[in-house]
Symmetry: C2
Subunit: 923 residues, 2 copies
Amino acid sequence: MAKQYVYLYNDGDGKNKHLLGGKGANLCEMTQIGLNVPPGFVITTEACLNYLSDSDRKLTTGVMNEVKQNIQAIEQATQKNFGSPDNPLLVSVRSGSAMSMPGMMDTILNLGLNSETLPGLVKATNDERFCYDAYRRFIQLFGKVALNISDEHFDEHFDAVKKQANVKEDVDLGVDELKEISELFLIVVKEQTGKPFPEDVYEQLEIAIKAVFNSWSGKRAIDYRREFKITKDMADGTAVNIVTMVFGNMGNDCATGVGFSRNAGTGENEMYGEYLVNAQGEDVVAGIRTPKAIQEMETEMPDLYKQLVELRNKLENHYKEVQDYEYTIEKGILYCLQTRNGKMNAAAMVRTSVEMVNEGLIDKKQALCRIVPDSLEQLLHPRLDPNAKAESLVRGLAASPGAACGKCIFDADRAELLGTAGENIILVREETKPEDIHGFFKSKGILTSRGGKTSHAAVVARGMGKACVAGAEGISVDVKARQASVGEHIINEGDVITINGSTGDVYLGEIPTLEPEFSEELKILLSWADKEARLQVMANADTPEAAEKAVEYGAMGIGLCRTERMFNDVDRLPIVVDMILANTKEAREVALDTLLPIQRDDFISLFKTLAPRPVTVRLLDPPLHEFLPSEMQLIDELASLRQLSGTVNGVANLLSSMRFTNPNPQDVPSLLPAPFNEMGEQMVNELIAKKELMLKKVRELYEVNPMLGHRGVRLGISYPEIYTMQIRAILEAVAECAKQGIEIQPEMMVPQVATAEELKYVKKIVDKTQKEVESHYGIKLNFKFGTMIEVVRACMRAEHLAEVVEFFSFGTNDLSQAAFSFSREDAENKFLPLYNDSGILQDNPFEVLDTKGVGQLMKMTVEWGRKSHPGLKIGICGEQGGHPSSIKFCHELDLNYVSCSAPRVPIARLAAAQAKLQENDDT
Amino acid sequence: MAKQYVYLYNDGDGKNKHLLGGKGANLCEMTQIGLNVPPGFVITTEACLNYLSDSDRKLTTGVMNEVKQNIQAIEQATQKNFGSPDNPLLVSVRSGSAMSMPGMMDTILNLGLNSETLPGLVKATNDERFCYDAYRRFIQLFGKVALNISDEHFDEHFDAVKKQANVKEDVDLGVDELKEISELFLIVVKEQTGKPFPEDVYEQLEIAIKAVFNSWSGKRAIDYRREFKITKDMADGTAVNIVTMVFGNMGNDCATGVGFSRNAGTGENEMYGEYLVNAQGEDVVAGIRTPKAIQEMETEMPDLYKQLVELRNKLENHYKEVQDYEYTIEKGILYCLQTRNGKMNAAAMVRTSVEMVNEGLIDKKQALCRIVPDSLEQLLHPRLDPNAKAESLVRGLAASPGAACGKCIFDADRAELLGTAGENIILVREETKPEDIHGFFKSKGILTSRGGKTSHAAVVARGMGKACVAGAEGISVDVKARQASVGEHIINEGDVITINGSTGDVYLGEIPTLEPEFSEELKILLSWADKEARLQVMANADTPEAAEKAVEYGAMGIGLCRTERMFNDVDRLPIVVDMILANTKEAREVALDTLLPIQRDDFISLFKTLAPRPVTVRLLDPPLHEFLPSEMQLIDELASLRQLSGTVNGVANLLSSMRFTNPNPQDVPSLLPAPFNEMGEQMVNELIAKKELMLKKVRELYEVNPMLGHRGVRLGISYPEIYTMQIRAILEAVAECAKQGIEIQPEMMVPQVATAEELKYVKKIVDKTQKEVESHYGIKLNFKFGTMIEVVRACMRAEHLAEVVEFFSFGTNDLSQAAFSFSREDAENKFLPLYNDSGILQDNPFEVLDTKGVGQLMKMTVEWGRKSHPGLKIGICGEQGGHPSSIKFCHELDLNYVSCSAPRVPIARLAAAQAKLQENDDT
């Protein structure tokens, strides 16, 4: 039997999205659960892939035969006839791949109209105006999508006719105008393609099917898949849906609309959506007419409203998920055209998750798994300070919540360009279209002057968690002049504006924003997550302030406290510099003695903030030259100093300029001393001497490859007095806390370890210091000693390292650099973008853990480490530790914890729970 | 039964060197094979380790009892009595560990003398002079070794008495003087230690035994073990030998001597050695009197000479190895005191290996295994140009062959200091002592004014393969004045001299040297090696000249040709710079088109030189900025250029200075053009423009960590036109050779590969270019495509990489940097010496492969690579590929080849054979 490429909705497998696409499978499912779906069928993704891989771009043999058979089945069901003047059947042709890619591929409506069927339709509907409207829509859409004719060729005629007829709204156009438009459109097609518009309906159908298939390999779709990391095993090829047309524009007992089964912006459990009376679906989506809120239907069309509520309930009860559905009312009959899981912002997802559990619709595991962890980042976006007394310039629709501020840019290309260059951009358009998508990615927010909450701009912005104000009709945008105006206010391109996607307000200038706070629902959800997760989630934090923030975010401890951040504080850096400039161990120790109590207080404060949670302190890591100015800077400073004439002006200028550039602010008195000339002169000479010393040291410490240089434990072994000071500060802090009866879990770890011998060397210092501190305080100290695993050789020697320590912490940033031989600083500017673009690497390995290479190292390390040290505690504190796919991998490796930046903690908590819950999904 | 710590030579196991030490085991063996060895016994290394680990430094209970029992056994054998005035027994106390460490530990002679036994000895020998001579020697040696009294305290008195008696040679001292000296020495001991010299002979014995044990943990011995990498499992603790004293200084029928069973310098099969009549052994070794060549004995003492020849033959027939033996003739009786395998220079080792095989004494495998591969490096040292018409200033003994040239330095400390700083040093001393050893390591050659061919200086220098002229009595050295003089010539410290250790000549200044050539014996030996080895030995060579050299050294092919070396040639660099400065692909291609025929000719020449051996060409590896001057240099050059006044002088100065510093010599005409002012002015302006462009590019290309930067395949993917040019040049060269009927084995490989995708990318270029070249030449090209394995991730992904290539080549230099996260350039200057000194790392991992870490990566790579690609060809081309222990590891990993620098090829060939021959030794 020949392979089947086409399935009627009554027959297709509603679960087989790979074959039928999301929409096709869904329509099968909808049909089969008894919703009133217009009859139709689906052509499989296999047919698409066959077509795209065929060098002549021919449809696989037999596909069109199957299509014809299925058209006949539809004809039977609808009692209409395709291509016949007698009650003609019209169909839509829509794409639909396994992954939802809203707006990315093409749709054709009203297919089946030609010079013969048009009169037939008029006869059947008895509505000439509707028919010509359908006809002109079909010609334009088919012309654009299937024949690649640019919209403007059509719009030009359309606008001219409208102007001539002196009408504003499309609906006000009469039959004659629409006839004229149709005729003009047919001429446009012939002019642009050199051929007449196809009359044969099966030819129309075949061209349309091919156009949809082609759209899969179009630039827009490819860009989208790359941005959203949709790989071939997630979706390969698009299916094509051929569905009987139903019309929302056959009169005032007709309507078309879209709905969310809950409020898409807030997640509130209420009817949500918009509709247009006497309109076709594309009018709603494209935002060409501003639609009415669904609530109006309750009074306008109460019976239909009831049906809609029933539909909504049926959908949610069946799908157990918020649904984004489309419907059309044709002469009082409600058809459900499509439904899919609703894309909502994170706040709405969280709220619905919690409420749907409370309603008994889903269980907690489902509630946790339906949220994309990274989306929670939206909840951490700033919102406008409610106390800021800013006056809104204009108000549009609150289309996607959150606040955003940036320069107005009036087209997507420029927005992309400037956004990539690091500018904050607000993309301002009359309305947006799928081809603007690249501009969205690089903008902070979107503002449109037309379209509703389900317009393209709104839907896409919500999906991305970007603030969006839509349909702000008070603004008129003049792209050519690169200006927008609100009444008499002119906004030039580049002017800064602020938008509030939660209220729809638009402001001139930058408005103060507030840090976001956790919603109650999110707290509940994350508490469920914590109960499910096996991985603990720690935060990377270096100061008590950062640690407090981390606790707010729900961190279960500090997985990485970088002590060098403490060294860099304004009040410590001069001491650190003195230590570095010292030429003897004794002189270094003098400086270190000054640092000791400061560091101890840091640690006491940190331990107390986190008590009783664990805090892991890493000993000094960066090379010493990082604490000194650059060679160039010192050369410049010395040149300026030496040119100083000794006059009051010269010295004063120097001092005032230095206050801004000098790394050691204590070198510069904030008030100029009284007997200025001499003091200035002396100060300058002292400064010269010091800078010369610094320059000498900088040159001495110069390294060709600092990333692989004299740092971490290598420094600790070269200058044991530095580590000794830090270890003492940690242990004395532990002792102080113990004395005060505070329960803490202190840990210390050694960076850049490559050999067990290095660890043993440091361990000796720890043991000695521990004895001294214990005998001084008269108490026993409890703490853990561990090592970073960030050097490849440490992985290879994990079995031996594990014998010396109580825990491992993967430093996957350095480990990835070493594993790839990529210097992150260099790679991200030089060749990584090219590597990602050309598909050599799918991700940036410094953001997403490279499980195949670096992950393989980690896997062996875990295995070997626990071989000699069963149950060894192992975590990760690299940046990737906050990335959901990396967290999943860490879970699978059976790590004990991940540690990430504080704002990623909620994401990591959810991801950790999902990793556990999805454990069995992959097997 | 209690543990036995002491063994009579008649009883000890002659194979158990670990327990009895080399010397003790040897004496057991010698005794047991019937040589006339003075009766004695050995105290085990176990007793030593027990003693050293005892915190009170006490001998293990029972050891002294066993010693007493064995002394009684000697008393019986010799009919002498220890500590008795009646025919007293004197013994020597000598160290001896499992590994020979000549001169490193202590020896005491004549032990058993005291105020009572001395008259007994006089009675027994009837030679008062001899007895007092023995007594004063004993007091001094015991004082120095066992009681830590510095020599100078004794020498002062000794010299004073000699002066007073007006004698030059020690032998001219009379009884009275020797008596006086003995008395003075006893006073020295009392003064220096606060106690009288010990009278009790067992007390003497116990102190002496402890002193020998202690010497194992003395600084000298520890330094020696570290330098020669003697680990605990090679030798742990020293044994102590107690042997009946026999005297070579009891009259003119007495003598003492040392012998080599073959010529120690050349390996020639002849009697070799020196002796002194009426002298004790230490006189020979210390070089205090210049001894006679052994050949003189044939006429002076013909019977004894015959006995000596018999002894030598017996030793070689038994030990199957060249022997270094010591003997004493006491009143006409020949005693063999010790024998050990002779330490010889590499030339002698090679010659004896080949000759001993020819004589049927050993087989080829033994011949190969007895030579330390690294020692062959000596054969690659330069020798003096025989045509150089230099006049020898003075001639000494040819103590260790080879020529050396450097600055005279008069003490070991300074020699070490300056040698470490990279200076060429000749260590010049009156005589050397074991405490000078650190100076040897850092000197190019050794020159002494006293001592023979078996003096300390000569033995140690030969062992190290350093040139040595010994006993150049014409030189007098004044260390305090930091001068030496030869007649009226004054040599100040720091003056350059040249020594010829093969002739004994010493020259002022630097004398031209010639490259060494292979001896016939070495060629024979290495041909045996090649037959045994499984690993092939390739060379790293970048030019046809270097390749020719490699073939001379016996390379079986080129394992690594670095194409960037070709880029750096004077005639190509300007083109390369143009290519780098180009801002478009097209402009780059113009420069690359110029390079293409040049590179193609390089490859043709290289392939032909090596034909039919394999040649592996690596595509461009270093980052582009390496071909440009540094930022600082450009800034300086621009500053000079801009200051130019345009005068003839200014421009002329500039041009002449630039000829030395400018990287692009073509920028500077060799003759100044005629209408100079204008041309100069214009040239300067053009130069400024070009330098500015270069500076801009240098800044654009700047990398924080160039080792991990934009290089290797990353460059090849960013600028595919570069790799395309190189691939085309290689393939066209292959085609040209094929056209000429030359059989070649070309290979190309890609550097810095981290992912299989990168390889596939380059492979596509190769496939495309191959098709083009094949169709142009009308022939099929045979070549191999491979990848460097020098990035850790490549190891992890070996299974996938192996699917794309035909060979792997480990770049263990970069791989070690990445595995350790050590930048070699930084590490070797900053912390590696400390890591080696403190024992954190035993070796420099960039010289000796780190088998535990990097080796583990390699092991997995081999396993995974051959899993998907059975029989995959795998080699190593890092610097470690020439190091014997690394070669052994590569053999064990079942690699196919090693590739190293050309001069290491002979060493690698021998090491590869040994790796195969010793395969079963380790199991």
